[in-house]
């Protein structure tokens, strides 16, 4: 008799949670990084509010949803590293030769990543509040923003896991992630409203999941929620999270087939 999928997933999640608490460096950085971004971006770009067409009077309030989504991207980039460690050490071999469901190995690790993302998101919104951002949408708006951030995190963590299980190399994973993350940030509305973007960036931004999540969070936390944006961007993010999760599970199966 084997454990159920839920029990196995829970055990795998717990393993990674315990692991992450025993690497306090990683935890510390994941909280300090968004703090730095808010302080740096908030100060350096402060004067953009005076540019005609910016359309918002407070840059910090505008910036926080963008930084929230950026944080999800940057943390998600590392999500696959645990699998590479397991492949190198032999833990993966032992797990794959045992009656553990492949999807539980993937889902359990993703759950731990999402728990970490949730903590990061809440900390970030608190830092934003302290820096002067105002969340006019209240608790409901905050819940929308956090949900959007978790859907984005799920997508990006799944991509990272899939790349890790396909490339099986730490340097390749970090390289690919770095290559994607920075352009993705700038080809979005995370830091700059759409009206101020050059046309080609605006077009690219429209297809960028980072833009979808940022727009959802921005309208959700404003005083007049555009439910059309919430619904369309929410569905897009949900679909993306589902697709990328399926990709990461199939990457796990393909990894075993390649042995």
């Amino acid at each position: 008799m084997s454990a159920t999928w839920a029990v196995q997933t829970g055990l795998v999640t717990r393993r990674w949670v315990v692991d992450s608490f025993r690497m306090p460096w990683g935890l510390g950085v994941s909280v300090i990084q968004p703090l730095l971004w808010i302080v740096l971006f908030g100060n350096v770009f402060k004067s953009v509010t005076q540019v005609p067409g910016f359309g918002h009077d407070d840059y910090i309030t505008f910036l926080v949803p963008g930084i929230l989504m950026m944080t999800m991207l940057y943390s998600g980039a590392w999500a696959g590293t645990g699998f590479i460690d397991d492949i190198k050490s032999g833990v993966m071999d032992r797990l794959l030769s045992s009656p553990v469901r492949r999807s539980a190995l993937v889902a359990g690790q993703l759950t731990q990543q999402l728990l970490l993302s949730l903590v990061q998101g809440v900390v970030l919104l608190l830092i934003g509040l302290a820096a002067g951002a105002r969340y006019a949408g209240g608790a409901g708006g905050i819940a929308l923003a956090i949900t959007a951030s978790l859907l984005l995190a799920a997508s990006f963590c799944s991509v990272s896991a899939a790349v890790a299980l396909t490339a099986r190399d730490q340097t390749a994973l970090i390289g690919i992630s770095t290559l994607v993350v920075l352009p993705a940030t700038f080809l979005s509305t995370a830091l700059m409203p759409v009206a101020l973007l050059p046309h080609w960036v605006e077009v690219a931004a429209r297809f960028n999941p980072l833009t979808w999540a940022t727009e959802l969070a921005r309208t959700g936390m404003s005083d007049s929620v555009d439910w059309g944006i919430v619904a369309t961007r929410g569905l897009l993010l949900l679909a993306l999270a589902g697709l990328t999760y399926a990709w990461s599970v199939s990457a796990m199966r393909r990894y075993q087939k390649s042995l």
Binding site: M1, S2, A3, V7, Q8, L11, V12, R14, R15, V18, D19, R22, M23, K88, S89, G90, V91, D93, R94, L95, L96, S97, S98, P99, V100, Q256, K257, L259
Partner: protein, 258 residues
């Protein structure tokens, strides 16, 4: 009726793509193997002969390109999950999470395989005691000595009371004392727990001391099988080393013993 053979492989072939225009690599080339239940069976052979690939196929870690095999009576391709439930696998690498303690590793492994919280906890204590890991049970695995970690790896392989235990070079890197202790343990699994052990090793002395029978593998095939005594007798060698060099020795090392 229990199977007469705990492991039975027929014509196993495993081919890896060579990549970038290189020819494919033939890791196994029609390997046959039959291991009677309740015995310790040694797999010997030079590096790259196919020992680890054989283990990977039999533990369902990878699928054979051709041929078939049963482990504990289950087909490795069609009944992979049943095979996985019936075996323990100690790979060449460590199987333990370095950030968890030995006890946490054992409990997690046991629960992943379906044990209740209390059963997993009891099993972990039993194995910690048995493998002499009691004093290290609460320390992080990554900080333990190589020998201690290897004992934990073996304990992890035994968590679910396997019917067949695969040990891939279990004593590589251990000091003589730790190696002798490990040998004693391996013998006791077979005798006391009725576990069939398939042991891959580079140490001929290890195979001689532990194995009821050995198979020498070279170029992806079994070149000879028998009890250490009968193999020595067959070619008039006085050690298993002589047997090994006779069957799998390359020209240069065969010449060295003449």
């Amino acid at each position: 009726m229990p199977p007469t053979f705990a492991v039975e492989a027929t014509g196993l072939v495993k081919t890896y793509p060579g990549g970038r225009g290189r020819p494919p690599v033939q890791a196994l080339d029609g390997l046959d193997l039959a291991v009677p239940a309740g015995t310790v069976h040694g797999l010997l052979g030079p590096n790259g002969a196919g020992k680890t690939t054989t283990t990977k196929v039999l533990t369902t870690l990878c699928a054979p390109t051709a041929g078939s095999a049963t482990v504990a009576g289950f087909d490795v391709s069609r009944e992979a999950d049943a095979v996985r439930r019936a075996i323990g696998y100690v790979s060449q690498g460590t199987g333990a999470d370095p950030l968890l303690t030995p006890r946490e590793n054992l409990v997690m492994t046991s629960r992943l395989r379906g044990a209740s919280r209390s059963a997993a906890s009891a099993r972990a204590d039993e194995l910690l005691e048995r493998m002499g890991l009691h004093d290290e049970a609460g320390r992080r695995t990554g900080t333990l000595s190589g020998g201690t970690r290897r004992r934990l790896d073996v304990a992890l392989g035994l968590v679910d009371a396997p019917r067949v235990l695969f040990l891939d070079e279990p004593t590589t890197g251990l000091d003589p004392e730790a190696r002798a202790a490990m040998w004693q343990e391996i013998r006791s699994f077979a005798v006391d727990d009725d576990v069939t052990v398939l042991l891959t090793t580079h140490y001929l002395e290890e195979a001689d001391r532990l194995a009821d029978a050995v198979s020498i593998i070279d170029h992806g095939r079994v070149v000879t099988t028998g009890t250490p005594a009968s193999l020595k007798e067959g070619i008039g060698a006085d050690s298993l080393e002589g047997v090994y060099l006779h069957y799998a020795g390359r020209a240069w090392d065969a010449a060295a013993i003449r």
